[in-house]
């Protein structure tokens, strides 16, 4: 049985179609990533899987249980780490976990032991009896992950688990997530708009844009898809002209121009660069900088959406993080 299966899942809010038909099949034990810019429909998708938001149409099942018809059963099977903080600041870490354990009917005889286990897992044992108000952002996040695991869920949802955390804490949290997935064999779905996060952690990734999955595979296969190397040229003027010329070369597999950045997929970057420079010189187009790297998820995202994820983020930043949404 699949851990998660969705068929043509759609969510419409009044006049906006946030999710436009998503099909997923996620295996038990898999660490699956939904990658996309803010507003792509990632949170809405997992909110439907978590029974928080009702799908407009289509179906979704968790271990065969329909999220709409068997929402209580589904709630007992899943754990959730929300995008926004959801701890009681006036309780201690231990009290937050105890409350969670009660709500999820963890047997009273086991609760104390389990709380100690999950606290140890996220290295918060020594802060267990401190009021959460005094925790740092990273500690709160770790406590939320611990809480998500307390009732031994079969599926753990993580919505932007490292949003707003410093790089060191992010890597720390990645370690926890990766270890939990390997050691406890918990199926995990995480949403993120960080390329490196998806790349580092996930077994498989679905790239989501405008409510649809535009690509889905393992990070390596996706990158392989773009192929070879990526050459990035800065072209302040005449980008279109240069793009048209270079596209005619046999070594160039695909090109993308975003503002003044021209990206070219090639088999062998080292030999392509001198050729590219010659063409630019012949055309009289200035190229102040040129670089070569192996394909990243960023390149894949651009390939499928024609945009950079960061530009999206900047444009959608206010809507996504304004106080009104918290």
């Amino acid at each position: 049985m699949k851990a998660i299966e969705t068929k043509d899942l759609v969510k419409r809010f009044e006049d906006v179609e946030a999710v436009k038909g998503i099909n997923l099949e996620i295996e038990e034990g898999e660490l699956f990533g939904l990658l996309g810019p803010n507003g792509a429909g990632k949170t809405t998708t997992i909110s439907m899987l978590c029974t928080i938001v009702r799908p407009t149409s289509g179906s979704a099942t968790i271990y065969g249980h329909d999220v709409r018809k068997e929402s209580d059963t589904v709630r007992g099977l899943i754990g959730i780490v929300f995008q926004d903080p959801s701890l009681d600041d006036n309780l201690t870490g231990r009290e937050n976990l105890d409350f969670h354990g009660r709500l999820y009917k963890v047997p009273r005889g086991e609760i104390a032991g389990r709380i100690n286990d999950v606290l140890e897992l996220v290295e918060l044992s020594d802060k267990a009896d401190v009021i959460v108000k005094k925790y740092s952002g990273g500690m709160k996040r770790r406590l939320e992950i611990a809480r998500g695991l307390l009732h031994h869920p079969k599926v753990l949802f993580l919505d932007e688990p490292t949003l707003g955390l410093d790089p060191q804490t992010r890597r720390h949290i990645w370690e926890y997530i990766g270890r939990l997935n390997r050691e406890k064999q918990i199926t995990m779905i995480l949403t993120t708009h960080y390329m490196d996060e998806a790349d580092q952690l996930c077994d498989r990734i679905a790239i989501v844009d405008h409510g649809k999955i535009v690509a889905m595979d393992t990070p390596d296969n996706l990158k392989h898809d773009v192929g070879g190397d990526v050459v990035i040229m800065t072209v302040p003027n005449g980008g279109e002209q240069l793009k048209a010329k270079l596209e005619q070369l046999e070594v160039v597999k695909s090109t993308q121009l975003v503002d003044s950045t021209l990206r070219l997929s090639v088999d062998k970057g080292e030999t392509a660069i001198p050729i590219f420079m010659d063409v630019a010189r012949q055309e009289g187009i200035a190229v102040p900088s040129i670089s070569l790297h192996e394909p990243t998820l960023e390149d894949i995202f651009i390939k499928y959406t024609g945009r950079e994820i960061r530009a999206q983020e900047a444009a959608g930043g206010f809507a996504g993080h304004g106080p009104g949404r918290r």
Binding site: C50, T51, I52, V53, D72, R75, G76, I80, F82, D84, P85, S86, L87, D88, D89, N90, L91, E95, F99, H100, R102, L103, Y104, K105, I131, R147, R326
Partner: protein
Amino acid sequence: MGDIYSIWLREMIRYIRARSRVVTSLITPLLWLIIFGSGFSSSLSFGGSGGSTNYINFLAPGILGMTVLFTSIFSGMSVMFDKEFGFLKEILVAPVSRTSIVLGKALGGTTQASIQALLILALSTLIGVKISGPLGLAGALALILVTMFFTGMGFVGLGISIASRLENIEGFQVVANLLVLPIFFLSGAFFPVTSLPDWMKVLVDLNPLAYSVDAMRYAVTGLHTYSIMLDLAVVFGFFVLMTVLGSVLFRNVR
């Protein structure tokens, strides 16, 4: 049952942890009682069916009603805070029925309101309030507790109902203030309601707090406007109505 207890327990931990707020929220009702009570006691005495009494004895049950009203309706506001700070999501996705959440919250708010009111009652005896009703001390306390319980449950239910329909804390405060002050002023907490102008008498008769204050006043002084059975029937009905309303409206909260 377990779920109701869990929700109640969290409310109580939060209450005990906010000790400074508990103390400050005792000050306002005590000021009312000391200043108004002592001020008017020096020149007035009040009568009604059941005899006559000093103004401070007359006022004390009104202040108890006020304490229960304020504490419980604003504890309904904790739904609003939970929503604002994200904790409500944690409760809403748990495998717990919405009714259990409402009942747990209501019991938590009522427990807090009762503790506050009993503290006020204890302190008021220190400034001269005497329990001299026909039920004796134990009977009076029993009647006060029962009345407070249903009144508190009712007003927490009302608070939850309002909080369920509103998007932000500012809105809640506006609605709560528009409701709370008229309910308080028109409850007969300050003055006898027997010889009021007709329009005012109608509003008092429609006010559940008026029956609550009336029952507690009977317990403290023996004075009353309505029959005690009517008082208890109204506060009980109010509790049932508001609990149902709160549960129904809370079901739609996201």
